[in-house]
Subunit: 143 residues, 2 copies
DNA sequence: CTGATATGGTCAGTCTTGCTGACCAGTTCG
DNA sequence: CGAACTGGTCAGCAAGACTGACCATATCAG
């Protein structure tokens, strides 16, 4: 009988993580953040990134990225500053409120990893990580 | 030095599979099928399923499921027949056109698995499968 | 057996998040 | 310098999800 395809199992795992992180963030009071905003915000750091670059990384159009950044800015999670090196461009930088959320998200991710390791055991967990990282070479043509 | 979280890696893998399957199906001429329709149709079989049940499995509301089924029906991929055991309910059944797509999708999935196995080797591939299946117990509270 | 409650499904309306196409303002390069 | 490229916005549209209200049939408690 058919075993479920690994792709489906990965989907289940990925959805679980996203849900857990979103719930944790919302439970801490940051409830003005949508899934897409979160996905975009996850890629932001102190250095700043251009909207176009962000769009490429997230595999969405720059228009979509721009809209998400605008929402994030309105809600105080990011700031947009002019790019000193190109007057056309503006850099999207994480703001303090955004940093707080990133900390929360990372904490929840670590918690999930601990739970998974407890469930699978150290050895199978690191085999999983290893295989997933190796697969990335085939499955992630972009990065 | 942060390694990417397994959840992210799973997301990448799952997205890759979905994309490959969608491309293969579209390339074969079934281009009137959207991702969400595909995800819903993947859960259909000969026995028929109620919209409500379908919605639960896919973790969407019954309204969303209902809308997707309507599109699938219009495009000839499924049929809706009355449930002989409950006059309130109707069963969503896969139609011939839908069966063709399912065959294509499964073929593409098998191809991907072969490629992954070639890349990882038999041993790591089965470790991956094993770990993912075990994780499902923790990460998939519904099924 | 009958009224209350639960269940399967639809209708109506809204929101988020994608997309394309057109366009503007700076940059870069021949 | 002018042509072509690049970063970004504006405008308009569609898919897919949601909530809330509602109807018809089933089921269950008394």
């Amino acid at each position: 009988m058919d075993r479920p395809h690994p792709g489906l199992l990965m989907f289940i795992g990925a959805r679980y993580v996203e849900q857990r992180v979103a719930d944790a963030v919302a439970a801490a009071g940051y409830d003005d953040i949508t899934p897409a905003m979160g996905r975009a915000a996850a890629r932001l750091g102190e250095d700043g990134i251009r909207v176009t670059e962000l769009a490429e990384q997230a595999r969405i159009t720059k228009q979509s990225a721009s809209a998400l950044v605008e929402l994030l800015e309105k809600a105080g999670y990011v700031e947009r500053v002019p790019d000193p090196r190109d007057a056309r461009a503006r850099l999207v930088v994480i703001a303090e409120r955004g940093r707080e959320v990133q900390r929360l998200a990372r904490r929840e991710e670590r918690a999930i990893e601990r739970e998974w390791t407890r469930h699978l055991g150290e050895e199978r967990m690191s085999a999983l990580r290893d295989a997933l990282e190796a697969l990335r070479e085939v499955a992630d043509p972009y990065r």
